[in-house]
């Protein structure tokens, strides 16, 4: 039983990283009032670009660490650019954000798949970024295996929780972002450029989504496929609701969700094949729905103008 729990947590924690990075980013842009349902598409592009650079340099073989780093940075930059593109549609042209997000999702996924088949093709993997063993802490029985033998990006993603919390709640920029999401009209009359702040928040959020995608292709799967992201973008958006727009809550949601996913993998690893695994795959999605039911009723502290375009010239 102890072995099972250790396996379960060892598998679950790395699974949460991609969700955590994407939903932390989404938290920031939702706080500014932009609902980016295109997260899935941005993650796909991030996943492709992140793996493309190491692949171009060293093929499937190992590459120096800075090449992998370059892949991550490129994924973040491409993500930010896609965020700005989305921004032009929903901020400049005030398009309805839900439907524009679906467009973004199709566009990003299609583009990543098209480029992947054209430039790489076949099922070619990369060496990617491997888990590191932290010297002394990693040798602690059980705990070391669960917590101190992870991928560097896992630590980075958990480090981003306090960083994002600090940015959102302790810096002037974070205050501006929250003002634009809660009451853009007031922010505007205080001299804040609502559109610019929203662009910035969206670029940050999408850069994080790009990184999350690169985590999937470089650290977790070490390969790109059309279905690699597999709905994680949508789940990341749902987790923001779950975490009530606070980084710590989002972290809890990401952990809960990925542990539910790990349960399925652990059960399969233990050879309990008699139980239909499809129902375990369903479990996390069902969990999200149940959670959304409870969150929907409660008085949340989220951005009041989430999803509403701001237009200075519009009548109230």
């Amino acid at each position: 039983m102890l072995d099972f729990i250790v396996l379960f947590i060892t598998v679950g924690i790395p699974l949460s990283s991609a969700l955590l990075l994407a939903s932390l980013g989404e938290t920031v842009n939702q706080r500014s009032g932009i609902f980016n349902l295109g997260c899935e598409g941005v993650m796909s592009m991030g996943a492709f670009v992140g793996m493309m650079i190491p692949y171009m340099v060293g093929g499937s073989g190992t590459v120096p660490w800075y090449v992998n780093l370059a892949g991550l940075v490129a994924a973040a930059i491409v993500g930010a650019l896609m965020g700005l593109l989305f921004g032009v549609v929903v901020i400049k042209f005030c398009a309805p954000q839900g439907i524009a997000g679906i467009g973004m999702q199709l566009f990003g996924m299609g583009l990543a798949g098209t480029f992947y088949r054209h430039f790489i093709g076949g099922a070619e993997g990369v060496a990617g970024i491997n888990a590191i063993h932290i010297p002394i802490l990693g040798d602690i029985p059980y705990l070391g295996k669960m917590l101190f033998n992870c991928n560097p990006m896992v630590y980075f993603s958990f480090l981003m929780v306090p960083v994002v919390a600090y940015i959102l709640f302790k810096t002037p920029w974070g205050l501006r972002v929250r003002a634009c999401g809660t009451m853009p009209r007031a922010a505007d009359s205080m001299g804040i450029n609502v559109a610019r702040t929203r662009y910035q928040a969206l670029a940050f959020g999408s850069a994080m989504a790009g990184l999350a995608g690169a985590y999937l292709s470089l650290c977790q799967a070490k390969i790109f496929t059309d279905t690699l992201v597999g709905g994680r973008g949508f789940i990341a958006v749902a987790l923001v609701y779950f975490g009530r727009w606070s980084p710590l809550g989002v972290m809890g949601g990401a952990l809960l969700f990925s542990l539910a996913q790990a349960l399925q993998l652990a059960v399969q690893a233990y050879g309990l094949t008699a139980f239909p695994y499809e129902f375990l795959v369903m479990l996390p999605y069902a969990l999200v729905i149940v959670v959304l039911i409870f969150v929907g009723k409660s008085k949340h502290v989220g951005p009041a103008m989430l999803g509403k375009p701001f237009n200075r010239e519009m009548r109230i």
Binding site: I99, A100, G101, F107, T114, R117
Partner: protein
């Protein structure tokens, strides 16, 4: 200047088309393909033979039905991204009924389609109820229901409905072939025409469905109330319309359409349950609905246009053009982004006013000169 609004709308739409084509050309150029050749295959190749044309009609059939369903939901103020899941559950119910219902012949065919609709309606009603009762955003819940439906379907294919012929083998799980009499007949079997008209009769189901939904939404009280709730829920509530009830009804109708589309696809094309047989129509349907101006009758030409593109994209590789078929997703995404962005430009009176003044000033200068 007379009719400026019409010219303005046409001008903006033309600009959108040019913009979309320009971005698409740019992507094609990056891929190193000959842009003109690629566009020729995408837009003209589907019309070169009757067989290709029939392929287009077969894609158009589910696309039209799903698009009509999405229109109903969108007009009622709820965005249904769950088309994929509703299709899956609908066709699953249809298959179960066809395999175990024991009714064959034309009656069986009609009943199977109705059961498929009921399945889709049931699955569609869930996010509607969640939104009406608990305020859960349909954008998220429908996506989650998509994944649950897909898993449920793949379980049913793998265990209870598995074809004994492939059991234990390495083939993809599938069900046994459905009874011959339940298949939707092909057009050339119904009418004495050229053998090339190979598309199945589902297209008539689709066209009838579009007309029925049009009549329902524009000529009945329930349809009017649904559209009122979608246009402004506050005003509708003030007018004594139970917004939440019509929201659920909208999702039921929308889900029924998607379920029908899935069942038609099975009875017309695959004739058995296969993995991955919804073909992304649930998402393409959104594009079609938007492109068709969110009107059931507008969906028909829009679906035709998109099935041409879709068929063309899937034929790129056969025509030795090095562009993967995923290009269709890129085009669809671009079209959505451009359409939603253009909507503001078209509907904003300020922008139109400004454009009109500029154009008139320009024309005035010319006359003066």
């Amino acid at each position: 200047m007379k009719h400026f609004k019409l010219y303005y709308t046409i001008g903006v739409i033309a600009l959108c088309v040019v913009l979309t084509l320009a971005i698409a050309s740019l992507i094609l150029a990056v891929l190193g393909a000959n842009v003109l050749d690629t566009f020729w295959v995408i837009f003209c190749y589907p019309f070169t033979t009757l067989k290709n044309f029939s392929g287009v009609i077969n894609i158009m059939t589910p696309l039209t039905i799903v698009g009509v369903g999405i229109c109903v939901a969108y007009r009622s103020g709820i965005i249904n991204i769950g088309g994929e899941g509703q299709m899956v559950i609908g066709l699953l119910c249809g298959i179960v009924f066809a395999l175990y219902g024991g009714i064959t012949g034309p009656l069986g065919l009609v009943l199977t389609l109705l059961v498929g609709m009921a399945g889709g309606a049931l699955w569609g009603s869930l996010p509607g109820i969640l939104k009406a009762k608990f305020g859960v955003s349909e954008l998220l819940s429908t996506v989650m229901f998509n994944y649950i439906a897909t898993q449920l379907y793949s379980y049913c294919l793998r265990v209870p409905l598995l074809d004994p012929a492939v059991a234990g083998g390495s083939g993809d799980p599938q069900t046994v072939k459905l009874d011959n009499s339940l298949w939707l007949p092909r057009f050339n079997e119904l009418f004495p025409v050229d053998k090339g008209f190979r598309f199945h009769a589902g297209i008539f189901v689709a066209l009838v469905m579009a007309v029925i939904i049009f009549l329902f939404m524009w000529k009945t009280t329930a349809g009017f109330k649904m559209r009122a709730a979608g246009a402004s829920d506050r005003a509708a509530r003030y007018g004594g319309i139970s917004v939440s009830r019509y929201l659920v009804l909208a999702m039921i109708v929308s889900g029924a359409c998607c379920g029908l589309a899935g069942t038609v696809e099975i009875l017309g094309v695959h004739h058995r349950g296969l993995g991955n047989c919804t073909g992304g129509y649930g998402f393409s349907g959104i594009v079609v609905a938007l492109f068709g101006g969110l009107h059931p009758l507008g969906v028909i030409p829009a679906a035709f246009f998109f099935s041409v593109i879709s068929f063309g994209c899937s034929a790129l590789q056969i025509n030795k053009i090095p562009v993967p078929s995923n290009m269709i997703d890129v085009l669809q995404g671009l079209v959505i982004l451009v359409i939603v962005a253009a909507k503001l430009i078209i509907s904003s009176p300020y922008l139109m006013d400004r454009a009109q003044r500029r154009v008139e000033a320009m024309l005035g200068k010319k006359e003066a000169a």
